[in-house]
């Protein structure tokens, strides 16, 4: 963004103001996440930087909150993490299967009432979570699925499928349908064509939709608060309870782990996006 040498002074000034604003906004976006790291290694119980930490005294840092997170007595994090992963994995699988099938149907040019059906399928993304929570709770209570893992998994499939539908439809929009016709003319049956031709080509879209579904489920708290019993507690629920009652440094240790997880997910999502663009022949 180097300015040409003939730029007038006032535009030069304006340009630097603009860069300053941008720097400030980027700082505002990313800095809060980095407060959590050092504080989670705090040796003391308070959530402020102690004098020792400010002077980088090694004694002021410790792993005690990480130990507490893993070994702490009557600690809910182990159960919560187990539940969170089980629920998120099953919800992701369900979302991927239902969402990919629906996206394949929606991308067909023969699909009747496309607009209306698309709007219905992605409605869980638009409707405020609190309303989805109330509605899903009424259903699960009637079906006897409240406070069960199955109920929460089904609820998260509802919330996760719109992401899969959107990403897979987007991938399919650049899809060359003549390859499936070619496969069919060479004698392949539809299932075989899907597994051997279509799926490998749309796989990046499917996986990135799946990542969205996974994160949605893993991070979801509003609907789970309505549905979960003591046995179904998840990481977000424990964090919510912890933040409401008392901010303990253990929560920060958990938060640090979650940030690491989201960094991993971010990297895989970016790699997938690039691969998908390469496969679809979009060059930038």
């Amino acid at each position: 963004m180097a300015l040409p040498s003939y730029t007038e002074t006032r535009y030069r000034i304006w340009h630097y103001i603009y860069l300053t604003i941008c720097t400030f906004v980027f700082f505002f976006l990313i800095a809060p996440l980095f407060v959590i790291f050092p504080l989670s290694f705090n040796a003391e119980e308070f959530l402020v930087f102690s004098e020792g930490m400010k002077n980088l005294d090694p004694d002021a840092f410790s792993l005690r909150w990480y130990k507490d997170m893993i070994y702490g007595t009557k600690n809910p994090w182990g159960l919560a993490a187990k539940n969170s992963f089980i629920i998120a994995i099953f919800a992701t699988i369900g979302s991927i299967i239902l969402g990919t099938l629906a996206a394949l149907g929606l991308s067909s040019r023969h699909m009747p009432y496309k607009g209306l059906i698309m709007a219905t399928l992605i409605s869980p993304m638009i409707v405020p979570l609190i309303i989805s929570g109330v509605a899903i709770f009424f259903f699960m209570a009637k079906a006897g699925l409240a406070a069960t893992h199955t109920g929460i998994v089904l609820a998260h499939i509802i919330l996760g499928t719109p992401f899969v539908v959107i990403t897979v439809t987007a991938t399919l929009s650049g899809f060359d349908h003549s390859v499936t016709r070619a496969a069919a003319s060479l004698g392949s049956n539809p299932v075989n064509t899907f597994m051997k031709i279509t799926l490998p080509l749309i796989l990046p879209g499917v996986i990135s939709g799946g990542l969205f579904a996974f994160v949605t489920s893993f991070d979801e708290v509003v609907v789970v608060l309505f549905l979960a019993g003591l046995e179904n507690t998840t990481i977000p629920i424990q964090m919510w309870t912890g933040l409401r009652e008392q901010l303990s440094p253990t929560i920060l240790a958990v938060a640090t782990c979650l940030i690491l997880l989201s960094t991993l997910i971010l990297i895989s999502a970016e790699l997938l996006r690039r691969r998908s663009e390469r496969l679809r022949g979009i060059n930038r």
Binding site: A102, M239, W240, L266
Partner: protein, 421 residues
């Protein structure tokens, strides 16, 4: 000869037109069958329950089922200025006696008390008389009941019972707007100091509006920078937008709680630059400031991403052309660049507004009492007061608002244009 040219036959001897239609229909069914599992699943677990919410919000069958005879007798009560006839009293007595035998009379008293204050006392009185068998069914029940309490002699109370007869009511919706049915059936506003819901609706709109505004003014410059920088720099800066986007909402809220607390870093910084005294640190959490700051940071990526994807498609030569035709950089930006970004602005603003208007977790944690929004109120009625029909009514009012905004969004940008990441 003419018929041969009109009808082209396939090898099976079926006209081509018919055969083609058949194939098209088959394709249609195939496409629909692929969508069917998800559609069916969503209709059963999601769309119907939202309909169920509506039924609950208007449902008032409880009292209709409790006093069947009374309401039947009341159909014959013509002069509403005077007390109802003996027949109504007798039917009410019979209904009430049955309820008392089934231990259901308390529910009726509470429900009627909501309709008109003072009912609980007089129904309890009637219950005690029935229990002691002090009521003689062979003589006029009207006189006996009227003697129990002066309120039974007040026609207002009988009118209140009559008003509860229809199995459906919009009372919960009125309550959500701080209104109620007056004794003569007209819609009245509650007293000024008790209008809590209207404050919440206005506050929700206000916060959603300002969060959208802040996100726009912060998101536009950085989306522009990201779209115009060379790829290797912009990819690096994009992490600043995407990492918060992928990070748990609760983690980000927690980090704001640490930053904004009274001994937190933001206050430390203010003290350091001498803005405030060390003993006079301002409260930045548990009020609107906290809600604004945290919500803006959390929703900002949803503004930046649509803006970025639109700005990326604008060719830089357009700005150069504007400048070469004699426009200053400001004019070129305002007349050429800005109009081209309007689809992105529409998408970003409506996305942030829709998300903000239904926000629940962050306001509940950093908002304190003055930061609670309508969603918090819905959750409160779902979990604490257990007034599910009222929670449903407020939820549907919120949903209607969101659908209107969504409809505008669809008109302006189209649902298919939603881009993720």
């Amino acid at each position: 000869m003419s018929s041969e040219t009109k009808q082209i036959l396939t090898t099976d001897g079926i006209p081509l037109e018919v055969s083609l239609k058949k194939a098209e229909k088959k394709n249609k069914i195939k496409a629909f069958l692929l969508v069917a599992p998800l559609l069916l699943f969503l209709v059963i677990t999601y769309i119907f329950p939202i309909g169920d919410m509506f039924m609950r919000s208007v449902d008032d069958k409880m009292i209709t089922n409790m006093l069947p005879k009374t309401f039947k007798a009341m159909e014959k009560w013509e002069n509403l200025e005077e007390l109802p006839p003996e027949e109504v009293y007798r039917s009410f007595y019979e209904d009430y006696k049955l309820l008392a035998e089934n231990q259901q009379h308390g529910k009726l008293g509470q429900r009627l008390n909501k309709e008109k204050n003072g009912f609980n006392t007089i129904t309890k009185k009637l219950f005690r008389q029935i229990k002691r068998k002090k009521i003689d069914e062979s003589v006029s029940l009207k006189e006996q009941i009227n003697k129990l309490h002066k309120r039974w002699r007040n026609v207002e109370y009988w009118l209140a019972i009559k008003r509860t007869a229809p199995p459906y009511t919009v009372a919960k919706y009125l309550k959500g707007m701080d209104m109620y049915f007056d004794s003569d059936g007209s819609i009245t506003q509650v007293e000024e100091d008790r209008r809590i819901h209207r404050i919440l609706w206005l506050r929700t709109l206000e916060i959603a509006f300002f969060v959208t505004l802040f996100s726009f003014f912060m998101g536009y410059p950085i989306a522009h920078l990201l779209a115009t920088l060379p790829m290797k720099y912009s990819n690096l800066l994009m992490i600043c937008v995407l990492l918060p986007f992928w990070t748990s909402l609760l983690v980000r809220t927690a980090s704001w709680m640490i930053l904004l607390q009274q001994q937190g870093l933001v206050n430390d910084f203010f003290v350091m630059i001498g803005l405030v005294g060390d003993d006079n640190r301002p409260e930045m959490m548990y009020n609107k400031v906290g809600t604004y700051v945290a919500m803006t940071q959390i929703l900002l990526p949803f503004m930046v991403l649509p803006l970025y994807s639109v700005m990326k498609t604008i060719s830089p030569s357009l700005m150069r052309a504007g400048k070469s035709l004699g426009g200053t950089p400001f004019v070129a930006f305002w007349k050429v660049y800005f109009p081209l970004t309007i689809p992105g602005i529409g998408a970003g603003c409506l996305l942030v507004f829709i998300l903000a208007i239904g926000y629940y977790i962050t306001p509940a944690l950093v908002g304190g009492a003055s930061g609670t929004l309508i969603s918090n109120q819905i959750a409160f009625h779902m979990k604490t007061t257990l007034d599910w029909s009222f929670a449903s009514a407020m939820g549907l009012m919120l949903l209607t608002g969101v659908l209107v905004i969504y409809w505008i969004y669809n008109k302006l940008v189209g649902v298919d244009n939603i881009k993720l990441g």
